[in-house]
Symmetry: C2
Subunit: 244 residues, 2 copies
DNA sequence: TGTAATAAATGGTCTGACCATTCGGAAAGA
DNA sequence: TCTTTCCGAATGGTCAGACCATTTATTACA
């Protein structure tokens, strides 16, 4: 029913099972948290075989509609659809379309700007406390020197994702996750391993957080955008030198 | 390997099969268009049972990595990953009511702005010809009146997607596709069925295309953003009235 | 030569068995 | 009586082997 996307391979029984269960979930006939009947019962209910039921469950699981637990009291539990599936498919898309660093960078500049802008308009005191804590972590790694650059990037990522959370927009949140998951590989490869890069980056983060705290949307946007852009330039430069 | 997202239910053999095949596909060891070995061979190669292989194939199929054909000469064919899976997951997310129209609208405003800006910097004469042709189509439906509003939205969508193409950034292209696929449902539901809405919209499109043609990035961005924003306001108003 | 019958390859389904994990309750011990 | 241990049932995971349905290639026949 939802699948306007696949050319309806007909006569696939498991697809019919998928459709029926998905319909039941989306329409709310089965609540989130509820358990589907065990495979052996579904088999009877739908007058089919267990293997067919299981293939259908694999599809539903991959769609993020159910989660399967082992053992007695286990089974297929209807889950709240999260952004994870969007993230995963976007991730696959990026990986297999050979999206270049430039494409990703161009996209990231704008997304991080948007997110910072939105966050500045929606931040709470609680959020600020969380951000400050994350900044402290980052600062720690800056002080510990270049050997901790990996830890620093982790902390940096956490700050960015925290800001994304503050945007309160699940689309931006999942997209930021995807970007960071994909960009880390480039960061490691192309960013110069110098202490002042860490320090510079840390300062940027502080500035962005400050604008967000003060609710200065435009500043937050521009700072975030500029921040990402500068690092994109670093990376591009390194990349170009490499290919000479 | 790609799945940092699921809590790694270990000891699931089919998951291991999924990972191995996915790795082979993403890394390019198997080219797009190539066929995977038949199930009975995979079974031997991976020292497992056919049902396990099949469950893995269901997952890969759902991920959009393979496509399965029946009969002799059929089998699992590696496909180019399209935006369809992203679209489908986002679609599910929206249906499960974790993403509201507001979230989608907020996101779209910015994305369309970005895309128009990029397009203005990269457009060719060829592109302009194509855009002008699409605008003519749209105009036709405007003139034909309110009964053709569905056709008009189709034409409108084509213009937006054409502009996305001109951005030359596959990430933006995929995301625009996803947005438009998901927003059409709201358009139908909430946009007032008045002729002047069509006319207004058409005029916006013309303005945007003109800025793109002239390479005025900032204008293009602001026009596109404003265009989307106004329609978001329309939709929000209708939605609010509905829930009173 | 062209068309129809046939065979072979391949995915789809079914059955029934056994294994692995988990949880609750029964049994054993303190 | 309370706690700990252990066993067994429920449930998902895997396996083997059979047969069906669809599609394509081949062969036979007119």
């Amino acid at each position: 029913m939802t699948d306007l996307f696949h050319a309806a391979k007909q006569n696939r029984i498991f697809q019919d099972v998928v459709d029926q269960i998905q319909e039941a979930i989306i329409s709310g006939k089965i609540e989130v948290g509820e358990k589907l009947p065990p495979e052996r019962e579904l088999k009877e209910m739908l007058q089919t075989s267990r293997s067919t039921i299981r293939e259908a469950l694999r599809v539903l699981e991959q769609k993020g509609l159910i989660e399967i637990k082992l053992g007695m009291g286990g089974g297929a539990i209807v889950t709240t659809v999260s952004a994870d599936q969007v993230t995963e498919s976007l991730d696959l898309l990026i990986k297999s379309q050979n999206v270049s660093l430039n494409h990703l960078a161009e996209f990231r500049e704008r997304v991080e700007g948007d997110v910072a802008e939105l966050a500045a308009g929606r931040v709470t005191d609680e959020d600020i406390r969380e951000l400050k804590k994350l900044l402290e972590d980052a600062k720690k790694y800056v002080d510990m020197g270049i050997d901790y650059i990996t830890h620093f990037w982790e902390a940096d990522k956490k700050v960015h994702l925290a800001i994304a959370d503050i945007s309160r927009n699940p689309i931006y949140i999942s997209i930021c996750k995807t970007i960071h998951y994909n960009i880390i590989h480039y960061l490691m490869k192309y960013l110069p391993m110098r202490v002042n890069v860490m320090a510079e980056n840390y300062k940027d983060l502080c500035d962005i957080v400050e604008s967000v705290e003060l609710g200065k949307s435009d500043d937050a946007r521009n700072l975030a955008k500029g921040h990402v852009r500068r690092f994109n330039r670093y990376m591009k430069k390194m990349q170009d030198e490499e290919t000479v």
